[in-house]
Amino acid sequence: MGNHHQISNLGSILSVRGTVVDVQFSQHLPDLKNQLQTGEDNQIVIEVVSHLSSQVVRGVALVPTVGLTRGATVVDTGHPLKVPVGDRLLGRMFNVFGETIDGGEPITGGEWRSIHATPIALSERVTQSEILQTGIKVIDIFAPLERGGKVGLMGGAGVGKTVLITEMIHNMVKQHQGVSLFCGIGERCREALDLYDEMKATGVLANTVLMFGQMNEPPRARFWVGHAALTMAEYFRDRKRQDVLLLIDNIFRFIQAGAEVSSANGDKSH
C-alpha cells in the first residue's frame, strides 16, 4: 500500500448523511480502507468503505461530521489507519488514531503500522498447548488459560471484573516479564479514567498500554479500536517475542458498533 502519486490526491464531498460521506475523486480513486481527511485542520477522518462508481467513493467518518458540507476538499492520505508501535507505548493511553489521550507528550515518528494485518499463517503456529499461569489459584486450577488462547470473562457490573483484570495484568508483568494491553470499547469514560488511576496507583501502568474508544465516540471509531490495540499487541509478540495479555472490555460493544456502522450504510442484515 504505497503512495502511487507524488502530488496529493484531492476529492470533493458529494453528500454527508450522518457519518456516511460520499466523495468524488476525479483523478484517482483511493484504495478501500484508505484514510481520508477533511474539515478544518484536516481534523475529520474518513475511511473508504466502498467504490460507488469510477469517480465516487463512500466513506464512513471516525469523528463527528458536524460542520461538514458538500464541496469541501478531501485529502487522500494514501494509507489506511495507522497506529504507533514499540516500547515507547508502555505506560501510555491512546485513542483509535494512536494519539495519546493521557495529557502527556504526543508520540510522533518511529514505526507506525496499519491496523489491518493479515492473520498468522497456519505453518507459523504451534500446535501444542501450554498453560499461561495467572497466579490466581481458582483460574489456574479450574479454568486455566492457554498461551495464545482466547478466554471470555463474563459477569455483571460491580462483581469484580476490573479487580480480576488488574490482578492478571499485575501477574503478567511480575511473573512473565510480559506486557499487557487494555482495550476499552464502547464503555463509560469514567471507567477508563478509574482504570488508568488504579493502574497508576498499583504500579502496573509502566508495563501496560491502554487504548480506548468509548461510548461517546462514533461507531466506526469504536469498531476499529480493537484492531488498533491488536496491532500494538502484535508488535510485542512478533518483534519483541514477549508474552502479551490483551484485555478487551467490552466485546459486545464491538459487535454493537459494527451493527451501527452497517445500519448507517443502509444494510438491514443485522
Binding site: G158, G186, R188, N216, A259, E260, K268
Partner: protein, 370 residues
C-alpha cells in the same frame, strides 16, 4: 479524583443507593410509580445547597408540567432551577433537540465551576421522537423500529454529564434521566441500553406502589455504581446493617404469607424488616436532613423500633428527628461535615431515640386503656 455526594433528601436513596456529583443515575419504572416525584423531590432538596438544577421535560402533557412548575415555585425551588420544555404536542424535532439544549445550559454552569443537576423527564419520549425522525428520513429501522444508533444517541448525551478536574474548575454535572418501562420489563431495548450507559439505576416497582410503600423504590433491583465512595462516613455504618436486614426480610416475606409457624429468629427478622420498610417510606416534598436520616435509620437498623407498633413508626420517626436536632447539635454538625461517628456518638443518638420511643409507646399503652 475529587468526589462529592449529591444529597437527595430521600432516606432510601441517600442511605442505600447514594448518588455522587457527576454521576448518571437512571430512574426507571412503569407509568405512575412516582418517577418524576422522586426527581422533583431531589430538586426541592437542593435548596440552599448551592446546586443549580435544570429540569428538562420531553413530550409530557403541558398541564402536568405546569403543575410541576407551580410546585417548584411553592417550595422556593425556581430560584435555582431552569425548566426546559418540549411539550407532547410539539413536533418530534423539538422533542429530540431539547435534551441537548438543556445539557448545554447545564454545561455552562459546570464550566464555571458550579455543581449542576439535570433531570431528563423522560428519555423514553426522547427515543420515540428520534425514532419518528429516523423513520421520516427513511433510515433503515432495527430493533423495536429504532435506528441502530439509538444507543450512541443516548450515550453521547449522558457522557456529557461528568465531574470536571479541579484544574478545569472542578464543576460537576449530575444527570438523572427518567425512563418509563412497560409491564415492568427492564430487559427491553431502551432500558437495557440506558442501564449500561448510566452509573446505576433506581427502580420503582408498581407492586410496592400499590402496597403504599412510597417512594416505591425496589432496593434489590436498584444500584449505584460509584456513589458509595462519596457517601458520608456516618451513613456507611448504618447502610450495611439496613440493607442486610431489608434483603433478608424481602426473602422471607413471601414465605411468611402462608401463615406457617415460624421460628423466633425468623419472626424477629420479619418484624425488623417491616419496620425498616416503614421507616424508608417518605412523603413527597419532605426531603430530610442528613443527621435526622442517620438517627432514624440507625434506630431501625439497631432494632430499637422492633417493639413499636407499625402504626406508630411514623410518629416515632418524627419525634426522634425533632429530639436529635434539638438535643444533639454537635453530633448533627459532625455528621454534616462528613466525619465518622464514634461509638459514643452512636450511643448518644440511640439514647435519645430510646427515650423518645419509650415515651411514645407508654403513651399509647395508657391511651388504649379505658
Amino acid at each position: 479524583m475529587r468526589k462529592f455526594r449529591l444529597q437527595t433528601g430521600i432516606k432510601a436513596i441517600d442511605a442505600l443507593i447514594p448518588i455522587g456529583r457527576g454521576q448518571r443515575e437512571l430512574i426507571l419504572g412503569d407509568r405512575q410509580t412516582g418517577k418524576s416525584a422522586l426527581a422533583i423531590d431531589t430538586i426541592v432538596n437542593q435548596k440552599d445547597k448551592n446546586v443549580i438544577c435544570i429540569y428538562c421535560t420531553i413530550g409530557q402533557r403541558s398541564s402536568s408540567v405546569a403543575k410541576v412548575i407551580a410546585d417548584l415555585e411553592k417550595y422556593g425551588a425556581m430560584e435555582y432551577t431552569t425548566v426546559v420544555m418540549a411539550a407532547g404536542e410539539e413536533p418530534p424535532g423539538i422533542k429530540f433537540v431539547s435534551a441537548y439544549a438543556a445539557t448545554t445550559m447545564a454545561e455552562y454552569f459546570m464550566e464555571l465551576g458550579r455543581d449542576v443537576l439535570i433531570v431528563y423527564d423522560d428519555l423514553t419520549n426522547h427515543a420515540r421522537a428520534y425514532r419518528e425522525l429516523s423513520l421520516l428520513l427513511r433510515r433503515p429501522p432495527s430493533r423495536e423500529a429504532f435506528l441502530g444508533d439509538i444507543f450512541y444517541i443516548h450515550s453521547r448525551l449522558l457522557e456529557r454529564a461528568t465531574h470536571l478536574h479541579p484544574e478545569l474548575g472542578g464543576g460537576s454535572l449530575t444527570a438523572l434521566p427518567i425512563l418509563e418501562t412497560e409491564a415492568q420489563n427492564i430487559a427491553a431495548y431502551i432500558p437495557t441500553n440506558l442501564i449500561s450507559i448510566t452509573d446505576g439505576q433506581v427502580y420503582l416497582s408498581p407492586v410496592l406502589f400499590q402496597k403504599g410503600v412510597l417512594p416505591a423504590i425496589d432496593v434489590g433491583k436498584s444500584v449505584s455504581r460509584v456513589g458509595g465512595k462519596t457517601q458520608l462516613l456516618a451513613y456507611r455504618a448504618v447502610a450495611g446493617a439496613l440493607r442486610l436486614s431489608y434483603s433478608q426480610f424481602e426473602e422471607l416475606e413471601s414465605f411468611a404469607r402462608f401463615g406457617t409457624r415460624i421460628e423466633e429468629s425468623t419472626r424477629i427478622t420479619l418484624e425488623r424488616g417491616r419496620r425498616v420498610r416503614e421507616i424508608l417510606k417518605q412523603k413527597q416534598y419532605r426531603p430530610m436532613p442528613v443527621a435526622t436520616q442517620i438517627a432514624v435509620l440507625l434506630s431501625a437498623a439497631k432494632g430499637l423500633l422492633d417493639d413499636v407498633p407499625i402504626a406508630l413508626i411514623a410518629e416515632s420517626e418524627r419525634v426522634i428527628a425533632e429530639a436529635v436536632t434539638s438535643q444533639l447539635l454537635d453530633v448533627c454538625d459532625r455528621i454534616e461535615r462528613g466525619e465518622a461517628l464514634s461509638d459514643l456518638d452512636h450511643e448518644s443518638l440511640l439514647r435519645v431515640a430510646r427515650e423518645q420511643i419509650s415515651s411514645i409507646t407508654s403513651n399509647s399503652v395508657k391511651g388504649s386503656k379505658p
